[in-house]
Amino acid sequence: MLASQMRGLVKEHLDSYNYFISTGIKKIVRVNNEIRSNVDRGIYLKFLDVKIGEPSIVLDGVFEKINPQFCRLSNMTYAAPIEAHIEYVTETGGQKQLCEKKDVIIGRMPIMLRSRYCVLYGKDETELAKLGECPLDPGGYFVVKGNEKVIMIQEQLSNNRIIIEVDKKGNLVASVTSLGATLRSKTVIMMEKEKIYLHLNRFQNKVPIMVVMKAMGIESDQEVVQMIGRDPRYSALLLPSIEECASFGVKTQRQALEFLEKKVKKPQFVSAQSEKEDKALKVLQDIFIAHVPMHGSSFRAKCIYAAVMMRRMLEAFLNKAAVDDKDYVGNKRFELSGQLLSTLFEHIIKDTISFGLERALSTGNWCIKRFRIDRKGVTQVLARLSYIQALGFLTKIQPQFEKSRKVSGPRALQPSQWGMLCPCDTPEGESCGLVKNLALMTHVTTDEEEGPLVSLCYCLGVEDLELLSGEELHSPNSFLVIFNGLILGKHRRPQHFASALRRLRRSGKIGEFVSIFVNEKQCCVYIASDGGRVCRPLVIADKGVSRIKHHHMKELLDGVRTFDDFLREGLIEYLDVNEENNALVKYDKLGAGQNATVAVMSYTGYDIEDAIVMNKSSLDRGFGRCIVMKKKSAIMQRYENNASERILPPTREGYAAERMQALDDDGIAAPGQIIRQDDFLVNKSTPKITKGPITSGVIPDSEYRPTPFKLSGLAGDNSVIDRVALFADKNSNMCINFIIRQTRRPEVGDKFSSRHGQKGVCGTIVQQEDFVFSERGICPDLIMNPHGFPSRMTVGKMIELLGGKAGVSCGRYHYGSAFGEPSGHADKVEDISETLVKHGFSYSGKDFLYSAKKHDIEKLPSIFPLVSFQLVLVFHGERLQEVLDKMHARGFGPRAILTRQPTEGKARNGGLRVGEMERDCLIAYGASNLIYERLMISSDPFQVCRSCGLLGYYNHKLKAGICSACKNGENISTMKLPYACKLLFQELQSMNIVPRLKLSDV
């Protein structure tokens, strides 16, 4: 039961994906169902239906079912075939024939884990365990090429909505981003110097709006004024624009179109001359407010829409409060996996589907030219350091803003985020406030069918727009009805209309996520059913009295009812309140760490600055050990000439044998073997000739060169091969995956943390006989410095220290979260103290400890007189970083090719820079010879021509330096220069700058 409730946290991902697979994909295919031959229009291919099969793969003609764990291990993509039902025409000898075929695989669709199409769907714990899957794993991500990838929730300004804002110059702007069936466009109407203009990127510059209105067939100025509203204030504001239009001499539609014709941008590549004529008309038809459909050649809907935009803008001009807030969550839409995948799928349906999907998922580059989308970093690898982290990753929301911009607006906490987005969880640093997280109970909607809702609206008394005159549009007491950004018409009794719709929603006749919003100021009723809106559950109240009564809650607690029942019975608008507690239950189940006996005191002095002192005997007994796994994979490459790499059995004697210890007789390292750095994992050899004609027969041994696959990048000498997996990759090359395991015990420098963010490195490890012990003989596992408390004020940890101690002495779990206190579940400090006293401890948790070195009772540090010592059990786990992974030093090693300087970074075995400060240290120390060598001698010798000052070269035949500029070697001197300096000179020369070296004797 818990597991099913848990899924709430990633439910939006699953829902959107399920929606895409079950409905979205069919719609897309229906729209793009025909592919016709360009040569013979009679030949075509038509998709009739499409469905997703079971996750499987076809390898060498063998159909094989796959599961996620299998894909993770063998670097595969967890995907299912897309089976299409097609109809096509073939032509044989001039005879056209119509054929039909079922279950044609047109590509492979990556499957989201735990979605309805995943093999894990609806499985219980044992079945999941059999598939190698953790029962607590939430799913909601993909496995692409063996990596777990999450499609981040993308935050966007909503499409098809009018937004009034003030631009940089202080002009009022009404903009709308239209997402039409085929393209995306942005329409901007702005007010500049009291005149109103239209900005559209197809026009060279701004065009007067009145001209546009005329071009759309509203030739009478009066009608425009009527459409905007007959309020004299609006008319006054419109006057300058009308006058301007008149000054251009534009009076008729014809004149207006001619005027606009000149303004249309010339296409960059002039292709067809034919469409030269009515470009302006085309732009107005297709680009201008693209989401408003045309009825035949009637521009009426667009005209009204433009008029409403203008009206909203003028309203804002008169009343500044009417300006919209871009950061308002209601103006945002969240794109989830399903939506993102469907836009991508639509784009690539006529292309290579499986490849395109896989590449987009694995690189995170969403590039859809048609909608001018080019986003990077849409997918990320699921972080798995802890369970909570993985969950948090799935609710993370990526903004569309650039992170580097120094803006405060979008980063600030918006009041409208209340209950929708978490007010606390946002990263520190550059993306602070931009990357957000969904709140626990929120739900992100998926698209809902529009047709029935629209006709429902008409049934409920909405007067159709087409039948209204401009005058009627804004008549008082009637409200415009706007559905998903489209103006449907108007309604005379908006409140009645809205409550009728709401009643329908609560009774489940229309979708539970349809929102109905009556905007009194704008005299509009907004109805939204589009995807990407965030919702949260709310209790329905009738005249201020909650519909949920006491007996409901009791039934809920007893498990008689679920939240779904509440929803069904119309008690709440949307479900799930309990998940928060569930998350905590799970956290206990998958806690990352160990309980430790901790003494909060100062000891040995190796615990300053948050360092901790550890007990060696505790470490001996297994405290704080962790297992690190790394994956290494080797590919047996097959080359174009059909030669392929091969694996040789190991040699057991001689020089090479030592490195081949881990190898089995088949030349592949065996599981369970202990392996060191640079040991062979696969004794591989590569043919010398890999190109040219296909080789036949056996290639002799001499034609191979050894290219062993060695263990690299794993420090330490205790690596063990955990698992070895052999499989074939896409090109049916043999792949060998090694999973290498290291069991590590804590060492000095490893970083540890408790659950309260109190982190610290291990400062020293002390023998048990040198450690402190209590009167009862208890010896702590680690010692933490009390100076970590005052400034950090981690009261929670103090309570945990007490609770832990009480917990072990009475043998009961103590509940210490902040959520239990009002309900009385939590153990209060008073009760904990009582338990402690009952078991003979001090109420404050302080103990007297004997020092093992000074032969007496430890004395207090005088600065901190109140705490003596707390000897307690505290959850002290989570090894954060380990020195073994960080430690790095090198003598000689690889260099960058271009500059010949040592490479950078540990991964590339890079050098460590002796920088300014290090130089200062050496000077201060007096190591002058070392400095001299490092800075002066350790350079490369170069030949410099004294006459021209340019660099020459050393001719090995003549054994003399030669200047290639002077064509002789007469005035050559050898000089030491850093290679990078020589490179700079040459680069300058290539830019026609001559750097000349003037040499003189010192």
Binding site: R621, Q767, C779, H855, I857, S868
Partner: protein
């Protein structure tokens, strides 16, 4: 012989435990510390005169005794030696032939290492890295556990470790086949005789001290086959060789009633103490509190918590009286362990004396 004034004598011999912190925790070792008062602080004579050991409690694994008239430094030396320098036998090398359980090899080996073995370490000698394992320095255990296909998941317990007195049964990979045909095949150990022929071990076979330590869990079809070699070592190197679970001491508690506590107050005091230190005595003047069981004081300081209570009760510790507890892990009985510790300290002293002379 002059005596120190009372307040100094108190400082010299007692630790006073206050609510927030202990006072006078240092021990004054210097013989001339009180020379200005004509008091001799040297303790050798008084040590001879006063030193005694009283055993309070002794069981198979645990001993508690009082060590009276000794300085903390010496008592601590015994504790330290017990923890880290008295040798025992513990599993050091594990040869894993087969391990198909979910427990990783090194984790299993670590667990095996921590299993306490019931064997007298004095019968064995230390094995250095270059020594060949023989009957004098190595004990071999075999473990072969299997869970059959139809059986339920089960635990592998320490009792399944069986002692192999003849040494390792695992054959070394044969280096040259010709020479090994006549002699017995080489194994990982080189035992000249069987260990169970030793008189001490013949009727007292070596086995893990506790039979019910879980080593691993194996499911159907899983199998563990291994050989574990135990050698002699000390706790300083690894805690598995420590002969004691822990050894510690505490100073003798002293609960002093500074004033007469009568009637309600007395009852309150008895109520307050969770360790049941106080009693009530009926006197002609009324009920009076007494502290007949100071030993059970756990230093929770409930009795001196609250306004003014520290004027009635003083909690002290006697600096030269140690209640010593040794918990053996089972190789040797706790009293033997302590005498071993004394011997090691003797050796150390002798070594220093010879080095100095």
């Amino acid at each position: 012989m002059p005596k120190l004034p009372d307040h100094l004598e108190l400082k010299r011999t007692r630790v006073s435990c206050k609510l927030d912190a202990p006072n006078d925790t240092e021990s004054i070792l210097y013989s001339g510390a009180y020379a200005s008062m004509d008091v001799d602080n040297s303790s050798l004579e008084s040590f001879f005169k006063d030193f005694k050991v009283v055993v309070n409690r002794i069981t198979e694994d645990e001993i508690e005794f009082d060590m009276i008239g000794i300085d903390a430094a010496l008592a601590n030396a015994f504790r330290r030696i017990l923890i880290s320098e008295v040798p025992t036998m513990a599993i050091e090398k594990v040869f894993i032939e087969k391990n198909t359980s979910v427990v990783q090899d090194e984790v299993l080996a670590h667990r095996l290492g921590l299993v306490p073995l019931r064997v007298d370490p004095r019968l064995f000698s230390y094995k250095s890295e270059k020594d060949e394992p023989n009957e004098k320095n190595t004990i071999v255990f075999g473990l072969h556990a299997r869970c059959e296909q139809k059986e339920p998941r089960r635990s592998v317990k320490s009792e399944e470790l069986s002692w192999l007195p003849k040494g390792s049964m695992f054959l070394l990979e044969i280096e040259n086949k010709a020479s090994s045909s006549t002699t017995a095949p080489k194994t990982y150990t080189n035992f000249k005789s069987s260990q169970d022929e030793l008189p001490e071990l013949s009727d007292n076979p070596i086995h893990p001290k506790y039979p019910d330590i879980t080593l691993a869990r194996i499911g159907p079809g899983q199998e563990i086959e291994l050989e574990a070699h135990a050698v002699k070592g000390v706790g300083k190197e690894h805690a598995k060789w420590s002969p004691v679970a822990t050894a510690w001491y505490r100073m003798l508690p002293e609960v002093v009633l500074l004033q007469d506590i009568i009637n309600e107050e007395a009852e309150k005091l008895v109520q307050k103490c969770p360790a049941n230190v106080f009693d009530i005595e009926d006197t002609p003047t009324g009920k009076k509190a007494t502290a007949p069981r100071p030993r059970s004081c756990t230093l929770c300081r409930e009795c001196i918590r609250g306004e003014g209570w520290d004027k009635y009760v003083a909690l002290r510790r006697k600096k030269d009286h140690f209640i010593f507890t040794v918990e053996s892990t089972g190789a040797l009985s706790p009293e033997v362990l302590f005498t071993e510790a004394v011997k090691i300290l003797e050796d150390k002293c002798e070594r220093i004396i010879t080095e100095l002379s």
